[in-house]
């Protein structure tokens, strides 16, 4: 890049690490004897320690939510549109923490880390992790950082599910929950898409039952297919039409009548898939999709979401996008309705947007306005 960083960027940031030696019991019945978590922070923790905001990442996210790790970075962190000075999560007022979740592949202990018991990568031996496990590990990180209570826990998609879980599991430690483009649990269709993605990975001949690292290979085709499939569900029909239509690949004016890339959309998906394979681990992808499938806070309350949310004391902002068909507004309304049952403080915005599920990452005027206004209210309430 080597050009000046934008004024509304958090600038250069360096990932930090925290080591945990106490075993973490997991929902699956197993436990992690020790682990490390990699995270980034932006802004400054105030003297009262009241201005901390936890940002939770989604399926393929990481701890790198905003700013640049090096001046050569081509792109900023994944949620740079919403985190920075003067942005909805204003780093002039808030101390923002974002960590890579357990099972991840960006530095936090996960399937590609070395298993201390064997000296080999965990691979398929890494335990299944759930949203609840992540929340508990994040709570330990909060303890380490001296944060008793978050001004807000914020996230989109799977990140929004973590915000929900936080408000249920640690009601005293969350003052506000911002749940964007999420759902109270996956639908059969959602799980079906996840299963196809997993089968694409697991049936790749290079998968080797998850021990591909020891074999020195990567289930490239499977992971690429999984990502291509996922990407379709992140976009709306309208967004794809606007972006690609039936345009032929650049430089072409006729069909080749073969299986090479004919249409722009094919080239785009293959490009996205290839790029993803370069910096994402297949076992992590499998784990993350399972965590999504298992997420269901109402399950322990006889499928009564209102009962699950009964202990919530946090105020909620729920945001959904009209063209999101992965987690459409009706799914967000389920969350809202359950909160209403308990007379909780909740506001809900249904943002008109063509971008589909991906809209939560985009700078859309109404979205940014309601999000920024809400965070402003959070800041006033916590004295940030």
């Amino acid at each position: 890049m080597a050009k000046p960083l934008p004024a509304d960027s958090v600038g250069l940031v360096e990932p930090q690490r925290a080591y945990f030696e106490d075993a973490l019991p997991l929902d699956c019945g197993r436990s992690l004897a020790r682990y490390e978590m990699v995270y980034e922070t932006y802004g400054t923790l105030n003297a009262e320690r009241s201005n901390a905001v936890l940002v939770c990442h989604a399926l393929s996210g990481s701890h790198h939510a905003a700013g640049y790790n090096s001046l050569d970075d081509r792109k900023p962190g994944w949620w740079d549109a919403c985190i920075g000075p003067g942005k909805p999560i204003d780093t002039d007022r808030f101390f923002v923490v974002c960590c890579n979740n357990l099972g991840g592949c960006h530095g936090t202990t996960g399937p590609s880390s070395v298993n201390p018991e064997t000296g080999q990568p965990y691979g398929p031996d890494f335990p299944m992790v759930t949203v609840g496990d992540w929340v508990r590990s994040q709570a330990r990180l909060a303890d380490r950082l001296g944060i008793d209570s978050w001004a807000a826990v914020v996230g989109g998609s799977l990140g929004g599910m973590q915000a929900m879980q936080w408000s249920i599991d640690f009601p005293d430690r969350v003052r506000h929950a911002v749940v964007i483009a999420a759902a109270p649990r996956l639908s059969a269709q959602n799980i079906a898409f996840n299963e196809v993605a997993r089968q694409a990975i697991r049936s790749d001949p290079e998968f080797h039952d998850g021990r591909y690292q020891s074999e020195g290979v990567i289930p490239r085709r499977g992971l690429m297919l999984a990502r291509m499939l996922g990407h379709i569900t992140y976009l709306s029909d309208e967004a794809m039409r606007a972006k690609f239509g039936r345009d032929l690949r650049k430089g072409k004016d006729d069909f080749n009548f073969n299986y090479d890339v004919e249409f722009e959309v094919e080239g785009y998906l293959r490009y996205q898939g290839r790029r993803f394979v370069e910096n994402f681990d297949a076992n992590t992808y499998l784990l993350m999709t399972k965590a999504l499938d298992y997420f269901d806070p109402a399950a322990q309350f006889r499928d009564d979401l209102s009962a699950a949310l009964d202990r919530v004391t946090a105020s909620y902002l729920v945001v959904a996008f009209t063209s999101d068909w992965r987690f459409p507004p009706s799914r967000s309304r389920e969350i809202v309705r359950a909160l209403l049952d308990g007379n909780k403080n909740v506001s809900f915005a249904e943002v008109e947007a063509d971008e589909g599920h991906d809209a939560f990452l985009k700078p859309i005027a109404h979205y940014q306005s309601v999000f920024a206004t809400y965070m402003d209210r959070v800041a006033l309430r916590v004295g940030a």
Binding site: V336, D341, N343, V346, F348, H366, V370
Partner: protein, 205 residues
């Protein structure tokens, strides 16, 4: 906070402290905020306009972006003391059905609407032969959101038909303040009508 619009002040005066209020078409949330601050009322506002939704959030009002034409299915029977709808009845698709929804969800309903029977509007149509416009009704016929305008007499007839019991009526002048002798020819002299009502005896949800 700026002073409450006079018609909203009348509505606020009807609402008892420590109650639960649902405000349909709550605008920027001024009424709810006023009620929170002065009467420790709790509740939610429903609003469709994105700008107003942000304004409600700014006003620290719980707001749910909702299209009233979709009804109040998010809300349980009898879950509010009052369901309020100010200056919105004439803009919804099924006003009669929505009044029923209000009384399903709330113990009492409060509505305000511009009275189409006001003498100025009658005169406007009679003399000019054109769709009446006024301070309260400043849209032209082709771009007005007001698709179900009614008069005080129309509204009361609907209430009668639907077994809705009117508890209180107030009519306002063009400054949106109560008329001193509001019992005199309300359908001719009242510019804005306010009603507080409940389910009539013997009616079921």
């Amino acid at each position: 906070m700026s002073e409450l619009r006079p018609d909203l002040q009348v509505v606020a005066d009807w609402i008892l402290p420590n109650t639960r209020v649902l405000d349909l078409g709550c605008g920027d949330g001024s009424l709810l905020r006023h009620l929170f601050e002065t009467r420790r009322v709790t509740g939610y506002g429903l609003e469709i306009d994105p700008f107003n939704v942000s304004e409600c959030v700014r006003n620290q009002v719980n707001v749910l972006q909702t299209d009233l034409d979709q009804g109040l299915s998010d809300f349980d029977d009898n879950s509010f003391d009052y369901v309020v709808m100010t200056q919105t009845l004439q803009a919804v698709r099924y006003p009669d059905w929505l009044l029923g929804e209000m009384l399903r969800v709330g113990r009492e309903g409060i509505v305000t609407f511009p009275n189409f029977g006001h003498w100025r509007l009658r005169l406007y149509l009679a003399l000019r032969g054109r769709m009446p416009m006024s301070g309260a009704l400043h849209h032209t016929w082709y771009n007005t959101p007001n698709i179900h305008l009614c008069t005080i007499r129309d509204f009361e007839e609907l209430c009668e038909k639907r077994n809705i019991e009117i508890l209180e009526r107030q009519v306002l002048d063009h400054t949106l303040r109560p008329r001193r002798r509001s019992g005199v020819l309300p359908n001719i002299l009242g510019e804005v009508a306010l009603y507080r009502f409940q389910r009539g005896a013997g009616s079921i949800l």
